[in-house]
Symmetry: C2
Subunit: 406 residues, 2 copies
Amino acid sequence: MALFVQKFGGTSVGSLERIEAVADLVVKTTQQGHQVVVVLSAMSGETNRLIEMATQLDARPNSRELDVLMTTGEQVSVALLAMAIIKRGHSAISLLADQVGIRTTNHFGKARIEHIQTARLQQELEHNRIAIITGFQGRDYEGNITTLGRGGTDTTAVELAAVLKADECQIFTDVDGVYTTDPRIESKAKRLSHITCAEMLALASLGAKVLHLRSVEAAGRYKVPLRVLSSFSPDTGTLITYEEELIGHSRIAGIAASRNEVEIKVLGCEQSFSCLGEIKALCAEQQIEIDMIAQTHQHSGKIDYAFTVQSNDHLQVIEILQSNLRYIRAHSVESNANVAKVSAVGVGIKSNCEVSNQFFSALTQEGIKTLLVSSSEIKVSVLVEEKYLELAVRTLHATFFSESTE
Amino acid sequence: MALFVQKFGGTSVGSLERIEAVADLVVKTTQQGHQVVVVLSAMSGETNRLIEMATQLDARPNSRELDVLMTTGEQVSVALLAMAIIKRGHSAISLLADQVGIRTTNHFGKARIEHIQTARLQQELEHNRIAIITGFQGRDYEGNITTLGRGGTDTTAVELAAVLKADECQIFTDVDGVYTTDPRIESKAKRLSHITCAEMLALASLGAKVLHLRSVEAAGRYKVPLRVLSSFSPDTGTLITYEEELIGHSRIAGIAASRNEVEIKVLGCEQSFSCLGEIKALCAEQQIEIDMIAQTHQHSGKIDYAFTVQSNDHLQVIEILQSNLRYIRAHSVESNANVAKVSAVGVGIKSNCEVSNQFFSALTQEGIKTLLVSSSEIKVSVLVEEKYLELAVRTLHATFFSESTE
């Protein structure tokens, strides 16, 4: 007998028919002799319906009350799934965040889980009940309702799996696992049966949308065995592992791509002054991360800096830098949003020069100019013109995942 | 400065426009220097939407989970109203049953409030916040979500007003007060500025739909000053009073009518046997109330009994009596659903013979035959053929509320 935490996202519970299918799936797991704790999102569409009502009343609705509103979505899901499972003759009970005892910080809309009580859940499991928990939500120390922000239901599932020491946390979604790259860009993309947590973290932060970064971080923190699989055609999916032996032999796990980047150039900086340090400090004040930094020396002795920021920080960064041009002793600021970041991710990538050589020569052969470059222990990233995104992904995929290199 | 508990029903918060109107109304009350605790129902239509989903999954959905589902309705209302009030620059906070501390029995779907904590509410009032509470719901001693059944939001409001010692509990609804009779039957019906709690109880139990019986009972228990008024055109409405002086001078407060009655006849009972006692016992076992009992002696020495039950008990009563005919030593059972109960309600009605005489002679003059009769300290009721309902109401209204008798 194993204990599984099974998480189903909005699409997986998006209609009464889908809820019936999830009920069948959960019941099947218990019939195989396992214990199940289910974590649910709101039915797809519901979150938007609620937000729309709120923003009609106030374009920027009060964040505490927005959380009170939003959490009704998961409450509806858990009650309906409990009914569907009970109708099938099995014992099930829905539990809200406060009933489980999921305590979070008090940052409405983006709270973090601080503590989960296990007494009530253990009790339900001992009574052979399928416990169905509202994902995405918690209560702060004053009992206010909070939500965890994007990817919050995954985070709830992972943290529950951690405190319950579950054998596996199964994230049921609308894709059947983690692929070598986005199958919509490269139809030859293959599903990975395993991926290390470090690789998954890198892929998630570099544009892969299967799992939300925070839930992978949480999984890594507690070494929760995490499996991504499809609720529409469940099979083995992809397992996120913590096996150290994988670190030994370097490989490429996948190719990620993101349009969510903007290249910023700060031109004509004085060499004698720490211009880059000031830029970093100004951005850090506004919690804006800068990445892929490069510097070029002009003949005049001045320095040009280039770096990237996330698209949603674009306008704010330009505003900050423009209004501080004199302070940072720079001549001008430029930006280019028509760029994309393409990355290869894999354990041991940095210690293997051949991978890096293959990466750059493949792009060069296709005439794809790299604007900026960055790398870490497990990834190599390049910034390219946005129009080259698909070509770069397909070229790199062919390089590292051709039939012969399998 | 007074403290008001203001309750708004489903129609009053049935759209975003209506929620904006309620926000204006509540804010206006605070601008007059008063403290306000608001109690809300689900937006009209929402309850049906939720029930429909549940019954599609299971024709008889699990009662605990149904309560989890239903309570999302009020949660949406309170969050939206809080946003609308905050948008208007006033301080407001939504509180769910568990945040207030509304403890109930564990009878899902028809729980009763056992205890309400006041600490959190008092704290919000001290901070000059408008507290917006989910009506209709509570938590049992195990923390399970419960609902109070029909009229539950009124009950929440009344009980909150009682524990907070509010100056008035204002029930905002879609009618502007309590009328001398149903204005849809008699357009000359007049609104009462005052009504005693005993009269209101009688009217509610005899078919008037303005207030639910349980909320009036709760008001009476705690002597909560209760006012019924319209959220669409709020004015003074009708105040439910506990003033003893009203008891002194007898009057008719109103004429109530109900189609929700069935006449049951048990024929040919043996005189030597306590047939009626057995009928009462059999019905009481199933929590079925019988009313308006009459007995007739046949020439043969046998006895016929007639009485009424509520329409929704009709089939069950027939089944019980048919299957126990031999046991209760009766010959046969008949029923007639084409009947209606018409009542006059008023303090001191029994001690004033003239009222009773007027009542019956008015009906006789119009050729309306009374099938059964019952009376108490504050009401006289007759059962008539259903087709006479409107005529009986209009006749009695003219008798007791003609211009001259005003």
